[in-house]
C-alpha cells in the first residue's frame, strides 16, 4: 500500500476512496454509539455506564423478532420500542436518585450493566445467530465497501443529529427540557413538570441507544452478550472528547476520532486503528480537559472579555 506512488493514478483514487469509506463507516458508528450517551450526560449530568447494555437490548430486541420471522425494518422498530420502555423503567427506579451525584450514577449504572449483560447471557445463551448485512457492497478497483455500513449508517447518523438539533432548539418540548436542565427550581415555578422532562429526556436517550442497537444488529456479525463494551468505549471516548455541548460535541469528536481510527485501520490494521484512536483521545483530554466544545466555549468567553 505504501508503494501506491508508483502505481497508476486510478489505484491511488481507489485507495483514497477506500480510506474515505472507512472513515464514513467509523464516523457513523461513533456518532450513533455516542449520541444517546451524550444526550443523557449533556442534558442531565448523569453518566450512564450501562449505555452499552442499552444498545445491546436494542440489538437483542431487533434480532429476536427478526429470527422469529418479522421483516428487518419492523424488527428494528420493536428493538427501539423495547429499549425505550426499558430506559423509562430504569429512570423511574434507579437513575432519578442520582441526578446530582455524578460519580454515584456511574457506579450504580455500572452495577446495572453487569446485571443486564449477565442476564442476557443466562436467558439467551452465549450467542444469537447473526443477521446478514443488507444492501450489499460497492466495489472499485481492488476494494469494496458495505453500502449499509459506509453510506446508510453515516447518513442516518447525520439525520439523527439534525433531528435532535431541531427538537431541542425549535420545539416547545426542547425549550422546556433545556430550562429544566439549566434551572429546575425556576422551571418548576414557571409551571413546567420537571419530573416529566427528566423522564422524557432519558427516554429519548434510551430510544437513541435502541436505534443504534437496532441499526447495528445486522452489521455486528455474531451477537453476543459481551458486545456492550465495544459500544461503551467508543461512546465514552467521544463524549469526553466532544465536551458538554451535545450535538456539536458529538459531531466534532466523531469526526476527529474516526479520521485517526480509519487511517490507522487502513494503513496498518484495525487493532492499530483502535489503539491510535484511544491514544489520540487521551492526548486530546490532556490538551483540552473540557473537551472540544468546552475549549471553544472558554475561548469565546475570553474573546468577549478582551473586547
Amino acid at each position: 500500500m505504501f508503494e501506491s506512488v508508483a502505481m497508476p493514478l486510478q489505484s491511488t483514487f481507489d485507495s483514497l476512496g477506500a480510506l474515505f469509506f472507512q472513515f464514513l463507516n467509523s464516523f457513523g458508528f461513533i456518532v450513533l454509539a455516542t449520541v444517546g450517551l451524550a444526550i443523557i450526560f449533556g442534558m442531565m449530568g448523569v453518566i450512564n455506564l450501562a449505555h452499552g447494555e442499552f444498545i445491546l437490548i436494542g440489538v437483542y430486541g431487533t434480532a429476536l423478532p427478526y429470527h422469529a420471522g418479522l421483516p428487518l425494518p419492523l424488527a428494528m422498530v420493536v428493538g427501539v420500542l423495547v429499549t425505550t420502555v426499558f430506559g423509562v423503567i430504569v429512570e423511574r427506579t434507579i437513575v432519578r436518585h442520582f441526578y446530582d451525584r455524578l460519580l454515584d450514577s456511574m457506579v450504580a449504572t455500572w452495577g446495572l450493566s453487569l446485571i443486564v449483560a449477565q442476564l442476557l447471557l443466562i436467558i439467551f445463551g452465549s450467542s444469537l445467530d447473526s443477521i446478514s448485512t443488507p444492501l450489499g457492497n460497492i466495489s472499485y478497483g481492488p476494494f469494496s465497501s458495505s453500502i449499509y455500513r459506509s453510506i446508510l449508517l453515516p447518513m442516518i447518523a447525520i439525520l439523527v443529529l439534525v433531528g435532535l438539533y431541531v427538537l431541542f432548539t425549535r420545539t416547545e418540548f426542547g425549550i422546556k427540557a433545556r430550562a429544566t436542565i439549566k434551572d429546575p427550581e425556576t422551571a418548576r415555578a414557571m409551571g413546567i413538570d420537571t419530573d416529566r422532562m427528566y423522564v422524557m429526556t432519558f427516554a429519548i436517550g434510551s430510544a437513541l441507544a435502541g436505534l443504534t442497537g437496532a441499526l447495528s444488529a445486522p452489521s455486528l456479525g455474531s451477537i453476543t452478550p459481551n458486545r456492550g463494551g465495544t459500544f461503551l468505549v467508543e461512546a465514552f471516548v467521544a463524549v469526553v472528547v466532544g465536551g458538554p455541548s451535545v450535538i456539536v460535541g458529538t459531531l466534532s469528536a466523531a469526526g476527529v476520532l474516526s479520521v485517526f481510527n480509519a487511517t490507522g485501520s487502513f494503513f496498518v490494521d484495525t487493532f492499530f486503528g483502535q489503539m491510535l484512536m484511544l491514544s489520540v483521545a487521551i492526548l486530546a483530554l490532556r490538551l483540552l480537559p473540557e473537551g472540544i466544545t468546552g475549549y471553544v466555549e472558554s475561548w469565546r468567553r475570553r474573546r468577549r472579555a478582551e473586547e
Partner: protein, 372 residues
C-alpha cells in the same frame, strides 16, 4: 514506672493511628481488630491448603481495594485504572523474574515491579492533574488507559513480543513467573502456599496501619480537604494538583504491590487484568465496603471474592453464571440504599445506638463532626 511508659507508648501509637478520618477509634475496635488478625493468622492451620491459597489471592486483590479506597474515598479521585498499575507491575515482576532466574532476580523483580507500577501512576497522574483533567474525565481517562493496555497486550502473542527471555504471550498470558522471594544469592526465603499466605497477610496489615497513620496526619487532612472542596483548598494556598499527584502515586504503588503478589500467586498473568470486567471489581468492592473505610473495603473484597469462588461451582440451584448478577445487584442495592457503603453505615448505626443509651449522661468527649 515502666508500666506507665508502656502505657504512654500505647497512647502515642494510638494517637497516630486514630483520628476523624478513619473509622474505628475505640478500644473495642482495636480488640476486635487484633482478634480478627489472629483469626486470619490461625486460619491456614485449621483449613485445607487449597482454601488457604485461595484466601491469599483475596489478600492480593485487597491491595487493589485499598488503593482505590485511598484515592477515591479520601481524595475524591475515582479511578477505574488502578488495575492498570496492578497489571503493569505484575508483568514487570514476571519479566524481571524470568530473565534473572535466581533469588536475587526475583527479589529485584519485587522492588522493580513496584517501582515501575508507581512510576506509571506518577506519569499518568502528572499528565492528568497538571493538565487540568478533573472529575469524571479522570475516570474515563484511567479506564481508557487500562483498555489500551488490554488491547495492546492482547495482540502480543507472536514470538517477536518478548523482553529478553520473557514472552508476553498475548491472550495466553505470561507463564513461569517466579514465586515471591526475598533474599540475595543463596540466602533468602521463597514464599509458597502457607508462607505466601503469611507474607501477604503481614503486608496487608502493615499497609493498613501505615495508611491509617498517613490519613490521620496533616497530609491526610489535606487530602480530605481536596475531596470536599478543591477550590477552597486551593484558596488556602495548597497546591491541589501536587496533592492529587502524590495521592495517585501512592495509590498506584499500593496497586503495584498487589500486582506482584497476584503474579507470584499463580505464577501467571494475562491481559484480562486490564479488562473492563476486572477494572470494575475494585469499584464494586470499595463501593460496597465503604469508600471511606479501608477496613470495609478489605472486608468487602474478601467476602465478595469468597462468594465468587463459592459460586464458581454453584450453590444449590444457583449456578456460577449468577455470580455477576448477584455482584451487580449488591452494588446497585448498596449505592441506592446506603450510598456511603456498608462499613460507614454500620458505624453510624452503632453511634446512634450508643447515643441513645448514654443520652441521660452527656458524653465527656466531644464527638467529631465529619466534614460533609
Amino acid at each position: 514506672m515502666s508500666e506507665r511508659n508502656a502505657e504512654s507508648l500505647v497512647d502515642r501509637v494510638r494517637g497516630r493511628l486514630e483520628g476523624p478520618n478513619t473509622l474505628g477509634n475505640s478500644t473495642t475496635f482495636w480488640i476486635g481488630f487484633v482478634v480478627a488478625v489472629a483469626a486470619l493468622a490461625a486460619y491456614p492451620q485449621v483449613t485445607d491448603p487449597y482454601t488457604a491459597l485461595q484466601t491469599s489471592r483475596y489478600f492480593a486483590l485487597a491491595f487493589l481495594a485499598i488503593s482505590l479506597c485511598f484515592v477515591w474515598g479520601y481524595c475524591g479521585v475515582l479511578s477505574f485504572g488502578q488495575v492498570a498499575f496492578f497489571g503493569i507491575s505484575a508483568y514487570t515482576f514476571g519479566t524481571i523474574g524470568i530473565n534473572f532466574a535466581s533469588m536475587t532476580g526475583a527479589t529485584a523483580g519485587l522492588f522493580g515491579a513496584v517501582i515501575v507500577g508507581t512510576l506509571a501512576a506518577a506519569v499518568l497522574g502528572y499528565f492528568m492533574f497538571y493538565g487540568g483533567v478533573r472529575d469524571v474525565y479522570v475516570t474515563i481517562m484511567t479506564l481508557v488507559v487500562a483498555l489500551v493496555l488490554n488491547t495492546f497486550m492482547g495482540q502480543t502473542a507472536g514470538s517477536e513480543w518478548a523482553i529478553g527471555a520473557a514472552r508476553l504471550g498475548g491472550f495466553n498470558g505470561m507463564t513461569n513467573i517466579p514465586n515471591l522471594t526475598f533474599g540475595i544469592g543463596e540466602a533468602g526465603i521463597v514464599f509458597q502456599t502457607v508462607g505466601f499466605y503469611y507474607a501477604v497477610l503481614f503486608a496487608l496489615v502493615a499497609t493498613y496501619l501505615g495508611l491509617r497513620v498517613l490519613l490521620n496526619s496533616s497530609f491526610g487532612m489535606t487530602m480530605v480537604a481536596v475531596r470536599e472542596d478543591e477550590e477552597r483548598t486551593a484558596t488556602f494556598g495548597y497546591n491541589v494538583p501536587f496533592i492529587k499527584l502524590v495521592v495517585f502515586t501512592i495509590g498506584g504503588g499500593l496497586a503495584a504491590l498487589g500486582g506482584v503478589f497476584y503474579a507470584s500467586w499463580g505464577n501467571y498473568v494475562d491481559p484480562s487484568v486490564f479488562s473492563i470486567a476486572f477494572a470494575a471489581l475494585p469499584v464494586v468492592w470499595v463501593s460496597i465496603g465503604g469508600r471511606e473505610s479501608l477496613l470495609g473495603a478489605i472486608g468487602a473484597t474478601l467476602l465478595i471474592e469468597r462468594m465468587r469462588t463459592g459460586l464458581s461451582s454453584g450453590i444449590g440451584p444457583v449456578g456460577p453464571e449468577w455470580a455477576l448478577v448477584i455482584v451487580g445487584g449488591l452494588l446497585l442495592g448498596v449505592i441506592l440504599f446506603m450510598p456511603a457503603g456498608i462499613a460507614p453505615t454500620l458505624n453510624d448505626l452503632k453511634d446512634s445506638l450508643l447515643e441513645q443509651r448514654s443520652s441521660r449522661s452527656p458524653s465527656s468527649s466531644p464527638t467529631e463532626e465529619s466534614v460533609e
